[in-house]
């Protein structure tokens, strides 16, 4: 019944996923709520151990196959064919690592920021981590859905208890919005479940077997049925991403959430939506997706430009970063809908990049907010003079966010645009305007916050030690993000290698025969010879 199938010989995925929950239970039961130091450090310790435990996944991952690895499977509710089945491929792998990394950074960054009900806060952050990891590793649809829903509850409380002035509104809006999407998805999952039984005579929620059903669905079911199910999945994921026009919960949630909440929200939660597209919508409903593609792409491109334009006019730094997320995620969606290896690779890399850069930007905003308790851009100015280290980190992350070559953002955006161009040049051309706008709002933000003269008030605050430069702890939690930004920017090859097999397999699922088509290749030598030949002919005349 029970089955662990991986090179390490022990259930590493289960351990990585449930370690935070076990930690949370231990903290809840055994630590006194007055003992905040012990609570903080235990939570941090658990998250770091979790991150370290997740690293072997990267080193033992076999990039030559698209098949699921590190698999484990136990029968859970046998009468319904529900299994506890987990496993990862390259796509899950990078998202799992991103989650464990941001998990400990989020906890680390909260040490000073959270001053009340600490115990509940860290317990919830740890529970949230289990929910998110579970979504990325589930191989059983039921299990996936359970993790998907479970994760909403801690986030609701994180926003609702430790958030800003309109936290209650933002928390319930976040919860209701995403729940409405996911229950529609549940209907679609159930419909697939019964359909699969009708075709194969097996009760199962196994995701792979639904993948295998895709061509049968395309051939044997009505277009309406496919479209309705595809739209139900689309809504579930598009709300989570969030795509325009389902994005309205996001600025509220981001602005009201505590810093760590925003980091997790932008860094990981939104990726659950894009992951859903990759794992479920595209491979199970390739035909319906392709038929609806023009609408999806339209929404993605509108999201890119709309998000950037709205970001441009924000007065609140956090809101600006929140709207920039809408724009960046639109970019990810565009890459995804290009349905070719470049587009999808770029999209996944951009998901990681967004986790790094936007996560860092939220931390950056959080740092000045913690010191001065305002996020209004006009309250700052000239910070580079009094907070030089901060200015440096901010600069790196700004450049990473706008896609400067040598930093991670460039790799992602370039690959996405290459993919989009390959699919339809006009998509890439329109989307590029989003990048230009992105540079505009980020650089303008940087200029307004960092340059010009320091106001008297801020100078005073600096002298009092309130508006101080980064502490060693703060530098420390930025370091992994900065290193990753450079690493992906300069040497993205390992990342591409990890993604290659699963992404190619996905493309083959959506566009059968994609790789056997004649590829138009540009042969430099051949071209040279032809030019020379032409030139010679010209001479002869």
């Amino acid at each position: 019944m029970s089955n662990v199938n991986n090179v390490l010989g022990f259930p590493i995925l289960t351990i990585v996923t449930f370690l935070p929950t076990i930690g949370a239970i231990l903290i809840a039961l055994f630590l006194n709520k007055e003992n905040t130091k012990a609570i903080k450090y235990s939570a941090f310790f658990i998250a770091v151990v979790d991150f370290i435990l997740s690293l072997p996944l990267w080193f033992y991952y076999d990039p030559t196959t698209w098949k699921m690895q590190f698999e484990e499977s136990v029968s859970w509710i046998p009468s319904l064919g529900i299994r506890y089945a987990v496993g990862i491929d390259g796509i899950s792998l990078v998202l799992v690592l991103l989650t464990t990394l941001l998990g400990f950074i989020a906890i680390w960054s909260s040490f000073e920021a959270i001053k009340h009900r600490e115990k509940e806060y860290y317990v919830l952050l740890l529970l949230l981590q289990t929910g998110m990891l579970g979504v990325f590793i589930a191989e059983d649809f039921f299990l996936f859905y359970v993790f998907w829903e479970v994760m909403l509850v801690p986030m609701y409380f994180l926003i609702g208890v430790w958030g800003g002035p309109r936290k209650l509104y933002a928390a319930i809006k976040f919860f209701l919005y995403t729940l409405a999407g996911s229950v529609l998805m549940l209907v679609a999952i159930l419909a697939l479940y019964f359909y699969n039984h009708k075709v194969n005579g097996v009760w199962t929620f196994d995701i792979q077997s639904y993948h295998q059903l895709a061509s049968y669905i395309a051939a044997h079911t009505s277009k309406t049925w496919q479209y309705l199910l595809a739209i139900a999945f689309f809504l579930g994921f598009a709300i989570k991403v969030p795509m325009f026009p389902f994005h309205t919960w996001l600025p509220d949630a981001h602005v009201e959430a505590p810093t760590a909440g925003s980091v997790i929200l932008a860094g990981v939660l939104l990726k659950m939506g894009t992951y859903g597209f990759l794992r479920f919508l595209l491979p199970i409903f390739p035909d319906a997706t392709k038929a609806l593609l023009p609408y999806f792409v339209f929404l993605a491109i509108v999201g890119i430009i709309y998000g950037a334009l709205v970001a441009l006019i924000q007065k609140d730094m956090k809101k600006l970063v929140a709207y920039s997320s809408v724009s960046h995620l639109g970019m990810c969606m565009l890459g995804l809908f290009a349905l070719n290896p470049n587009g999808i690779n770029g999209s996944i890399i951009q998901m990681i990049n967004h986790g790094i850069s936007t996560g860092a930007l939220f931390l950056i905003v959080g740092i000045v907010y913690e010191r001065k308790h305002t996020r209004l851009i006009k309250e700052y100015g000239g910070l580079s003079k009094i907070m030089p280290v901060y200015a440096t980190v901010f600069m790196i992350m700004t450049l990473s966010s706008i896609g400067l070559p040598g930093l991670n953002g460039f790799v992602g955006e370039f690959t996405i645009l290459a993919g989009a161009f390959q699919a339809k040049p006009i998509w890439a051309i329109v989307a590029t305007s989003g990048i230009v706008l992105g540079a505009a709002y980020m650089l303008w933000l940087y200029q307004r916050v960092m340059f010009n003269e320091v106001s008297e008030e801020n100078l005073e605050l600096h002298k009092k030690g309130v508006l101080k430069d980064l502490t060693p702890r703060e530098v420390a939690y930025f370091m992994p993000l900065i290193l990753l930004a450079f690493w992906i920017g300069l040497y993205p090859k390992p990342l591409f290698r990890a993604l290659e097999a699963p992404v190619n397999h996905l493309v083959e699922q959506v566009e059968p025969g994609f790789f056997s088509r004649e590829q138009v290749k540009f042969d430099l030598n051949k071209a040279k010879k032809e030019i020379e030949k032409e030139a010679e002919e010209g001479h002869h005349e």
């Binding site: 009468s79 509850v153 229950v183 209907v187 159930l190 019964f194």
Partner: protein, 481 residues
Amino acid sequence: MNNILSQIASSSSLLLPEIVLIIGATVVLFGAFFAKKKTHLLAGLSILTLVIAAIALFKVPLNETGFFGLYKSDGFSLLIKVITLWVGLLVILLSIDFVDENKYSSAEYFSLILYSISGMFLMASANDLLTIFVSLELMAISVYVLVGYFKYTSISPEAAFKYFILGAFSSAFFIFGASIMYGLTGTTRIDLLFQKIPLVAPGLSLFAVIGVIFILVSLGFKIALFPFHQWAPDAYTGAPTPITAFMSVAPKAAALAIFIRIFIGAFGGIKYDWMPALAALSFMTMIWGNFAAIRQQNIKRMLAYSSIAHAGYMSLGIIAGTPIAIKAMILYLVAYSFMNIGAFAIVIILSKKDGFGENIEDYRGMAQVHPVLSAIMLIFMLSLAGIPPTIGFFGKFYLFGAAINSGLYFLVTVAVLASAVSLYYYFRVVKMMYLKEHKFTKQFELSLNEKAVVFLTIVGTLFVGIYPTPLFDAIKNVFGM
């Protein structure tokens, strides 16, 4: 004559649990003469009666028909009876302190609960329109009295009166519908109706339609389907809170049982004629129940409207009508009995002495003072809203799955969206407990019986939510599928 007597004698073993309940109820009632204020003793006797009835229940042979086909013992009726017994047990445990504090005469109180349970038992097994009617009245009249038990307040008798008047209407509709059916077919037996109605329906369709509609209206009243639900919020608010908890599950389970007996059993042959009507009622019930619940400030009223919404979900099981769907409906009832009684238990514990805790506003900041009880309430609310890993999620998952399997895509979509809406009002309680500033000062101790109820319901809610297989297998085995 001899034949009749021997038939009755041979069938009477089928009635053993009901006989136990009625004897027990009468003993408790007369206990008032000997132990006037001995609430614990009388409650103990009532629980003993329930336990003996439970033992008797499992001694009754399954899949047998007695009393000339009027009475039927099958897996379905057994499951409904187990649910009502279970709810009865929890409610009696919850009532002890309540009855003691309010100086009610406990003998009548507990015996009425037992009488109403015996009515529900009869309802679950009744295989004939008249048997259904009589047992329905036995159940309903006991509950009318219980609703009016707060006789010194103005709100409770008013609630009882409203419930009684509308209940009487519903009975009248039922008997009228039943008489039309009898006029058409010459029988009131469910299985014979199933054979005969499709034969007479085409020729006398108008009468058949009127008969079905009357019975639909009457049962709609009983399980509070829109627009026959108006009595429910008032009756729920006015009744003593343990009785509200009782009413929200047990009579509903029994009424759903006869709903299924009549509509699947008797009218199954003309299923496609009544399905649209019930689908429309179910649609409106889900929408109305959920949206009206949003506006409520009183938690009992909120739970009343939510129970209307839940009845709407459960009616999907009747519309689908397949064995899987009926099983799913029973599973949902089990889930509902855990989470709803659990939620009511918290309300009762909180509002026992002074009525503080009947408004959602009263829960403000409770998490800071009573973290464990708040966490438990949180889980009940999550379960009612259908968030995993709770029994409520599993109930919804299975019920909606069964409905999808029958092709009810549109209704299920409405149901899932409505349950997303329901999160809003369930989470208002959560919001008050966790997110609002601390204002809560009330201190209270849980008595042993209250602890038992909270423990049983929370363990059920969580355990079955994470590992539903045992419950699932139990239902499957009893149901014989």
